[in-house]
């Protein structure tokens, strides 16, 4: 079980990277491009709130999992 937990750490790191790409490249950048106020707010939220939060938490969690911080004591 601990081996699965550690291996899954790689998945959380990858998930963080994919989420970051999706939020910034697919969502935020096109919205910043329009210049409309109704687009700027969600673009700002994606860039400055959601992206750091999701990428940061998934990456940190992934690193912790890889290092065995969540291993069960047998």
């Amino acid at each position: 079980m601990n081996a699965i937990k550690r291996f899954a750490g790689i998945l959380w790191l990858l998930a963080g990277a994919v989420a970051g790409y999706y939020l910034l490249v697919e969502q935020a950048l096109p919205k910043f491009g329009t210049g409309k106020p109704e687009d700027l707010i969600p673009a700002g939220i994606y860039t400055f709130i959601l992206c750091p939060l999701i990428v940061g938490s998934l990456a940190t969690f992934g690193i912790y999992a890889l290092k065995g911080e969540y291993d069960s004591e047998s």
Binding site: I4, K5, A8, W12, A15, P37, E38, L40, I41, P42, I45, I49, L50, L53, S57, L58, T60, F61, Y64, A65, E69, Y70, S72
Partner: protein
């Protein structure tokens, strides 16, 4: 002999615990009430403080929703969580109550944009931020306070009463608004009556403060304080300490993130889907939502109680898993229930009415014309359908033509109404499964000395950020799927999305799936950090 004299110590303890739950729950419910009336009256607030056609005001109008719901709540959690771990739970959630009540009352007093100009929307924004800050501090305090009074084997049951307050607050806000509307003309309500629900809040807060004033500090915190075991720096211990921080992350990614999206899907996105995607009459959709929520509410307590018997993790993860696999089936069924394509039209009852009038801008007639084509249809099962196609004919022939606006309204029959109540009720059950035990689950993850701080942040990020953004992201996903289909139609290629109206569900499905896997793999029921 008086009743009091015949009471056994056990009965007295039970009664005082019930009083503690009642006092805590009423205050938390009032905070939710204050938070929701702003949302429920958003349309009127927009006309009073954020005039149409002014881009700066339009920009400001979106900020209260986003800022208070998503950005400020976690800050409130950190600020008041720290305070609660330093000076005590009782005083802290008294402050959050007063802050919320004061801000709500003051919103009801702000003069309109016409009277004081841009100061009006600026004040609304500031007070809304204070509301978000207060809400961020309240929940963790109430949950911690109740949990620290409860016996360990009944924490799930007693804290589940706190979990009801969010739904109860929504109910009370709708009732107060409805009563105010019924007591005056539409014009009076639009003119000044909308302020009443905000002003009434101060009375509710006053009563709640009186009740809370007589409550004692949480016994676990009082004991820790007496023994000198409280934290001197809760923020550092919660988030700077690697051992504790890994549990904060686990609480967020393995529990509150998925719980937040399941809650917002069942309680808020379902209503938005009924009104915006299925075009069901506003009154009917509000009514069926109310029925579903009322029927589902007791299940918060049921699942809270059950979590004491069989564990919290299993119930919450089961709620997430059933939601993940059934959302698309439920929403497809909802959509098809009222889809008029599936119904038999009574052709002789179809009417088409065409009117033409001069367009008005800010009450003044322009040279442009508005042509409104109203089509009304009736169906053999009693369903009624109305479509208004409003097109603008511009006086300036060289100007770029404006896209026609189409408004659809479906008035459903009783049978469809009960089918929809049932389908929303099922989603509310998922909500109660994930939300009923969450307070006890979070409380048990962290020790008394840093509990308020540590549990508040993952709760408000999970619910405020991941849950709160659900309507915006889901609506954007539906819109982009619709656009992709339109583009494919124009190009004469196959449609990329067979059911574009279901695309918004990918957001809660993906988030809840990640949360489910993390929760299943990493949450260990032995990882309890309670010191009681």
């Amino acid at each position: 002999m008086s009743d009091l004299a015949t009471m056994t110590p056990k009965t007295q303890k039970k009664q005082s615990l019930a009083a503690i739950i009642a006092a805590s729950s009423v205050g938390t419910m009032i905070e939710w009430y204050d938070f929701y009336i702003f949302g429920s009256l958003a349309t009127i607030i927009a006309t009073k403080f954020f005039p149409a056609g002014n881009p700066t005001a339009a920009f400001l109008s979106t900020l209260p929703t986003f800022a208070a719901g998503f950005v400020v709540r976690p800050f409130g959690a950190i600020f008041f969580g720290r305070l609660g771990d330093l000076i005590g739970r009782k005083y802290t959630f008294m402050v959050t109550l007063l802050l919320m009540g004061g801000a709500t009352f003051l919103i009801g007093l702000i003069p309109s944009y016409e009277t004081i100009g841009f100061l009006a929307p600026t004040l609304v924004l500031l007070l809304r931020l204070l509301q978000g800050l207060a809400l961020g501090g309240e929940y963790g305090g109430a949950a911690t306070y109740v949990a620290e009074h409860s016996p360990a084997d009944k924490r799930g049951f007693w804290t589940s009463w706190i979990q009801i307050t969010a739904t109860a607050g929504l109910f009370v806000s709708l009732i107060v608004i409805q009563l105010t509307q019924n007591s005056m003309s539409k014009e009076s309500f639009a003119e000044w009556g909308w302020r009443v629900p905000f002003l009434v809040s101060i009375l509710m807060v006053y009563v709640s403060v009186l009740i809370r004033k007589n409550m004692h500090e949480s016994p676990l915190f009082a004991k820790a304080k007496a023994e000198g075991k409280t934290s001197t720096n809760p923020l550092k211990e919660s988030f700077g300490n690697r051992y504790n921080f890994k549990f904060v992350l686990l609480a967020l990614l393995g529990a509150t993130m998925g719980q937040g999206v399941v809650w917002y899907t069942g309680q808020f996105y379902a209503l938005s889907f009924l009104q915006k995607v299925m075009a069901i009459d506003l009154q009917q959709s509000n009514e069926l939502m109310t029925y579903a929520l009322m029927l589902g509410t007791p299940f918060f307590v049921l699942f809270g109680w059950l979590s004491d018997k069989i564990g919290r993790k299993g119930i919450m993860l089961a709620g997430m898993l059933i939601a993940i696999v059934s959302y698309r089936i439920i929403y497809e069924k909802m959509y098809q229930t009222t889809n008029v394509i599936n119904k038999t039209e009574i052709v002789e009852k179809t009417t088409v009415d065409i009117t033409r009038a001069l367009d008005k801008k800010e009450g003044i007639e322009t040279k442009d014309s508005l042509i409104t084509i109203t089509t009304k249809k009736e169906f053999t099962d009693g369903t009624k359908y109305e479509e208004k196609n409003i097109s603008k004919v511009l006086a300036d022939a060289s100007a770029e033509p404006v896209k026609p606006e189409i408004k659809k309204t479906v008035i459903i029959n009783d049978s469809d109404k009960w089918t929809l109540i049932w389908l929303v009720f099922i989603q509310v059950i998922f909500v109660t499964m994930v939300y009923g035990p969450i307070a006890a689950f979070l409380v048990e993850m962290f020790p008394t000395r840093i509990r308020y701080t540590s549990m508040s942040l993952p709760y408000h990020i999970g619910n405020g950020v991941f849950g709160g953004l659900l309507p915006t992201i889901a609506t954007a996903l539906v819109a982009s799927a619709g656009k992709a289909n339109d583009a494919a139609k124009e190009a004469g290629t196959a449609l990329p999305n067979a059911a574009p109206y279901l695309e918004g569900l990918w957001y809660p499905i993906v988030i809840a799936s990640i949360c489910f896997v993390i929760g299943l793999l990493y949450i260990n029921v032995k990882d309890r950090n309670t010191d009681d």
